[in-house]
């Protein structure tokens, strides 16, 4: 098994955080993982992306030419990275911020109104967690339970109050 995932959005949207959570959860489930973020003079409002490779064998290369799963949180990311998806692969797009349709017809497109759903829950900043829930539901790439454990770890101490709302956002697509 080898799965290549790519996450992109604008800085602050939490695209990288979803990638990191999935990488960490997959490692906890016994897989080899690599997480490679873009870096540079990129801040809130700029572009940000991360490559995640998950495998049951040692991973030779953390860089990818194409991906099985692409997650885009905004329009510039869709435009730039849509061609990366393997034929038959999956594209998750944040339809709240991407009114356009995907151009590819050889992939499965899943539109997630992540910002709207997060707003409905009253937790605007958890749009990425809504997206994460959708990814887990559609792909089973990692188990919900493993992600819950990671969230507990992530939102502990002073951040503990954010655990319940974030988990609510992740759970939205569970049912």
């Amino acid at each position: 098994m080898i799965k290549k995932l790519f996450f992109a959005g604008s800085g602050g949207q939490g695209a990288l955080a979803i990638g990191q959570l999935i990488a960490k959860a997959s490692m906890e489930e016994g897989n080899e993982v690599t997480y490679l973020p873009s870096y540079g003079p990129e801040m809130r409002g700029g572009t940000a992306n991360a490559t995640v490779v998950l495998s049951d064998k040692p991973i030779s290369c953390p860089l990818i030419n194409e991906c099985d799963i692409l997650v885009v949180m905004n329009l510039p990311s869709l435009t730039r990275f849509e061609s990366m998806v393997k034929p038959g692969g999956l594209l998750f797009m944040n339809s709240s911020l991407i009114p356009e349709k995907a151009t590819r017809s050889d992939i499965r497109v899943i539109e997630v109104p992540a910002n709207e759903e997060a707003q409905k829950l009253g937790i605007d900043r958890a749009a990425n967690m809504v997206m994460l829930g959708a990814i887990l539901k559609e792909t089973g790439v990692v188990k919900f339970e493993t992600v819950y454990a990671e969230l507990e770890h992530m939102f502990s101490g002073r951040k503990a109050k954010f655990l319940a709302p974030n988990r609510k956002a992740v759970d939205l697509y569970l049912s």
């Binding site: 990488a23 993982v33 997480y35 030779s60």
Partner: protein, 359 residues
Amino acid sequence: MSKILMKGNEAFGEAAIRAGVKCYFGYPITPQNEVPEYMSHELPKAGGAFLQAESELAAVNMAFGAAASGGRVFISTSSPGLALMQEGLGFICSTEVPLVALNVSRGGPGVGGIQPGQADYIQVTRGGYNGDAKIPVFAPAGIQECVDLIYECFDIAEKYRNPVMILADAMMGQMMEPVELPPKKEITPVAEIPKVKPWAITGTGQHEGRNVIYSLRMQPDVLEQHVEKMFEKYARAEQELVRYNTVGLEDAEVVFVAFGTMSRLCAETMEILAERGVKAGLIRPISLWPFPEKAFDEIGSKTKLVISTELSMGQMIYDVKVAAKNRWPVKLIHRTGGIVPSSIEIADKAEALLKEVQA
């Protein structure tokens, strides 16, 4: 022990702390900023001292002083910062003081850029310091290997009484991989230093007479004798420190030579070439000096071409040519400036070069 997912730079700092580092000196430079940041809050907790110097020049000389007095010392920087440290490294070699330096390299020359580069190959293997000196250099290909090397290199540095360099790159510094961290070694208490490092400047209270650490030797015969003594240990290093990995050399038509990040790309390139019916092998030097020349003796009879694969205009290729001893044509596949080629690009170029030598 369980694995944890760590960012390269933070794992490198933790490896040094676990190796019993007493002092870290550094100056911020991308893409290794997380090393000093991590050391600033974690090293004091472990009983060590973190100091942000005013420049790389100051950092290396502070490190020189602390290491001369017997402390385990770690420094880190990135390419242009290492250029500033070269004078200090020459003095540290000359005075036979051990320390470990990490270079999370980026593109050059000059300030260059902040994306991954391997154009420091000549800087780290030949040095920018004056005079006859050598620094063992290890180039890991992943975060676990880098952690293990940093942990071990303090012992190597102290055994040889010489600096040891780790050459990582921006990609390794920024990415995350699962790591199993080695056990924590205790920092040597000051009172114990004269026992483990009898040469260290620890004051006359603990040993007979004065220990003096100096670089100036005005009499040519004295200097020659000193340099020859240094080269006796470098000759031992050439026997003891050679490290490399090889993959599929016995029946390879093309053999890639690549270190660090490039070796991981080559590993994937080999799979792509296999699908196209081309058998490729890989020599991955882990020690860049001493360069693993003997790895080339493992190349089988089917090889038509050796390709030095680098993120520079071609620097390791000189060592590759020496090691190849005219047995095969040696070609170069490279990108520079911070651009990392795709495995498909490398495969295409390798196929074209193979056709060229077969024509």
